[in-house]
């Protein structure tokens, strides 16, 4: 007798451990002889590091070691990048700049680590951090992404001649031409704010080097232990079988805990090997707010060209994307935004231009959506505005533009985050939208409830947004 599970309520098997406090999170790891780390981080967003005096910190009782870029010697190296750099493609400019384990000559965002203290406990480590004397020469700061692109803007990376990290253009058809033929142009400037994921559990790393067996064990609040294992092995000159990365229970992640090779992720294992002691670093909430990655900051000048009966002739968008101080995550996020700005619609003409901008802020990496929500928001917003202008019901206008089922596989003729052609393999969108509208009682609300509420002086709205999420990121194995 087979048991049917689909559609049934199933209790999770991990819940009893979580409910009774028996689940292991990284900060729960206790190893005899374990030392604790704390970082000296920059209070300035942009500054030259002139000098640093760690002698008082080193002398504090309970402090085992203090490391700076200088004392790390040849072991100091930037990066690595988190995704493969973009291939050399026409219309793509990309300047790769990756984060560093400790600041070398210049601080590029508040919270960037300058020194690491290793002590018997975190309390003493923080005392020692206070005893480090650092001389930072503050520089003008660039925070606003539009201002960052002005010719006189302070440069985040002195070896570049602007704060342009990347520039990508993608085109399909001829938007400029179709624009002339349009019955209606909807044009908007849309500003999307940067935000943090702020998971309940802050980040943390525990590393234990066993010199006898030449084996490194790392507990890491990571969403992706295997790339961390591979990256650490490469960086520390070990074979992959010598490194084990454990991702135990994790207290929320939402993107920023993914294969980041954060400075701390690289440093703590290195320190453990260097001192031949287990080492723990747990991020506190301060650090979480300025040293854990964020996302979303973009400014769009977007346009949609339509016919009188609501058919989208084309979409055009020029946007700035805030990268923060470095760009180890390549073009993933802006490409995702570009790929979602046509939504699930049949759009024959598309122009998208993205400038990725360096700013003096913590780097942006995917947080819940990885650039897709921005694209979706914009296309749907423009459509809603068009619906209002044209007097067409918002759902109806979407129905008129959805990719029809016989058009799949639908080739968008632009590239996605894996630098592969964006193709929607299959779909049947109309029934989905119809069913959603039906399930929330859309028609009845719009015809009966909404007018009734408005007569009472209450403004109550309803919205439906269909979206397609690009997944199945390459590279792919291909037959033959």
């Amino acid at each position: 007798m087979t048991k049917k599970y689909i559609g049934k309520r199933i209790k999770r098997s991990e819940d009893p451990r979580l409910l009774t406090g028996e689940a292991l999170f990284v900060d729960d790891v206790e190893i005899p002889g374990m030392l604790h780390a704390a970082f000296l981080r920059s209070d300035y967003a942009h500054a030259y590091l002139k000098s640093i005096d760690i002698s008082a910190a080193q002398a504090l009782e309970g402090v085992v070691a203090v490391f700076t870029t200088e004392t790390m010697g040849d072991d100091w190296q930037p990066g690595p990048p988190l995704v493969s750099p973009p291939p050399t493609v026409e219309d793509v400019i990309f300047h790769s700049r990756t984060q560093v384990p400790l600041v070398k000559d210049k601080v590029r965002h508040v919270g960037e680590p300058i020194a690491i203290v290793i002590a018997e406990n975190r309390y003493i480590a923080e005392d020692a951090v206070d005893d480090i004397v650092v001389d930072l020469e503050p520089l003008d700061v660039v925070v606003d992404i539009e201002k960052a692109m002005q010719p006189d803007a302070p440069l985040v990376h002195d070896d570049l001649d602007s704060n342009l990290a990347a520039h990508i253009k993608q085109e399909k058809g001829d938007y400029a031409a179709i624009r002339e033929a349009a019955d209606l142009i909807i044009k908007r400037r849309i500003v999307i704010d940067r935000g943090a994921a702020a998971a309940m559990e802050n980040r943390g790393v525990v590393a234990q080097w066993d010199a006898k067996s030449q084996h490194l064990t790392v507990w890491d609040t990571t969403q992706a232990p295997i790339p961390i294992r591979n990256g650490l092995a490469a960086r520390l000159d070990l074979s992959e079988h010598q490194v084990r990365v454990i991702a135990p229970f994790i207290g929320g992640a939402f993107g920023p805990k993914m294969m980041m090779f954060y400075p701390e992720e690289m440093l703590i294992p290195w320190v453990s090997i260097k001192l031949d002691r287990p080492v723990k670093w747990i991020e506190d909430r301060y650090e979480n707010f300025y040293a854990t990655t964020q996302e979303r900051g973009q400014v769009h000048d977007a346009e949609m060209a339509l016919t009188y009966d609501g058919r989208i002739l084309g979409v055009s968008d020029v946007f700035l994307h805030d990268s923060g101080a470095y760009d180890p995550y390549g073009l993933t996020i802006p490409l995702n935004t570009q790929c979602h700005m046509m939504g699930p619609y049949d759009v024959a003409n598309y122009y998208s231009e993205s400038k990725v901008v360096f700013t003096n802020k913590i780097i942006t990496t995917p947080v819940r959506g990885a650039g897709r929500p921005q694209g979706i928001f914009i296309v749907e917003r423009l459509l809603d505005l068009a619906a209002r202008e044209l007097g067409i019901d918002p759902i109806e206008i979407r129905m008129r533009n959805l990719i029809p089922p016989d058009a799949f596989p639908y080739e968008h003729k632009i590239i996605d985050q894996a630098f592969a052609p964006l193709i929607f393999d299959s779909g049947n969108y109309k029934p989905v939208l119809e069913k959603a509208a039906d399930m929330i009682g859309y028609d009845q609300f719009v015809k009966d409830e909404q007018p009734r509420l408005r007569a009472e002086g209450r403004h109550v709205g309803i919205g439906i947004v269909p979206f397609i999420e690009t997944t199945g990121v390459g590279p792919y194995e291909e037959p033959g």
């Binding site: 975190r122 923080e126 005392d127 301060y286």
Partner: protein
């Protein structure tokens, strides 16, 4: 975020506590509920070298009636005790009403009445309420004690009259005269957040329903509690019709306060809120004063 090192004392009497405070002066901080002090120490924003823990001084924990119909509260009385006290609900219902608005249940388990008053956060309800109720505060040091009326107690942002060698030991509230009504109105983004603007109002009517006494005190519009003197004056001798109340509320918002702008709210928004909340508070207080209900929500 761990606190820096400090010397720690846990006296069991006021006398002992005062001896420590006297010895260490500005280097020492009294630890009451810790709900405001310990976070600032964890941030290392406050780094007192000496902490005098008041939590073992049983003589500071009490809620007592006084013979005049009022009541007296020990400075270490926890918010959670005040929240559940029938004596407070009878004799100082304005305080009782404020309790659920103060932070969250966990904070109220440890936070204390005296701690809140002494910390003097401009957004604190209890400071404004103490003034509205005509409360007095008893300060003690090694040489003696003094009573300070609540409306003289707060002298700046997070600053009170308490001297380094003094301890706030008690708050006393007079009997609420008959035909007295009260109300607390505030707006916060979430119920337990710091108020963007709040106002406490207490009115007393004579036998002809004319207002013979009024106090309107704001929180979150300045460096400390701000009393709306002109608006309160305007109510004396009047029947509190909606028009009179509305005019007084407008006066309070425009003439009695000068709120600032910050990341939470602009000055204009605060002013606008102040007007609306004062009107509502006076309406509720008036209704209560007329005796139409014992305890409106």
């Amino acid at each position: 975020m761990k606190p820096p090192p400090f010397e720690y004392y846990a006296p069991t009497s006021v006398e002992e506590a005062l001896a420590h405070l006297s010895e260490h002066g500005y280097d020492a901080k009294a630890l009451a509920g810790g709900q405001s002090l310990i976070p600032t120490m964890n941030f290392r924003l406050a780094q007192p070298s000496v902490l005098v823990d008041l939590n073992n001084i049983s003589e500071l924990f009490f809620i007592r009636p006084d013979e005049n119909g009022g009541l007296r509260l020990g400075a270490m009385t926890r918010h959670s005790q005040v929240e559940r006290s029938s004596l407070i609900s009878e004799r100082a219902p304005l305080i009782y009403e404020a309790m659920p608005k103060i932070a969250t249940p966990q904070i109220r388990s440890r936070g204390t009445f005296g701690g809140s008053i002494a910390h003097a956060d401009p957004s604190a309800e209890l400071g404004a309420i103490s003034i509205a109720l005509g409360g007095r505060l008893r300060l003690q040091n090694q040489t003696g004690e003094r009573w300070v009326p609540a409306n003289e107690f707060f002298i700046g942002m997070f600053t009170t009259l308490i001297e380094p060698d003094e301890l706030l030991v008690e708050a006393s509230f007079p009997n609420m005269p008959p035909r007295t009504g009260w109300a607390l109105q505030e707006v916060a983004r979430r119920p337990h957040d710091f108020a963007l603007v709040g106002v406490a109002a207490v009115v007393t009517l004579d036998n002809n329903n004319l207002c013979k006494k009024a106090r309107i005190v704001f929180l979150s519009v300045g460096d400390g509690p701000v009393e709306a003197h002109q608006a309160a004056e305007a109510l004396i001798g009047q029947t509190l019709t909606p028009e009179i109340i509305h005019a007084a509320a407008e006066m309070a918002a425009t003439a009695d306060i000068d709120p600032g702008s910050d990341i939470h709210a602009s000055a204009e928004y605060r002013r606008s809120l102040a007007g609306v909340l004062t009107r509502r508070a006076l309406e509720v207080a008036f209704k209560r004063a007329k005796g139409s209900s014992k305890f409106d929500k």
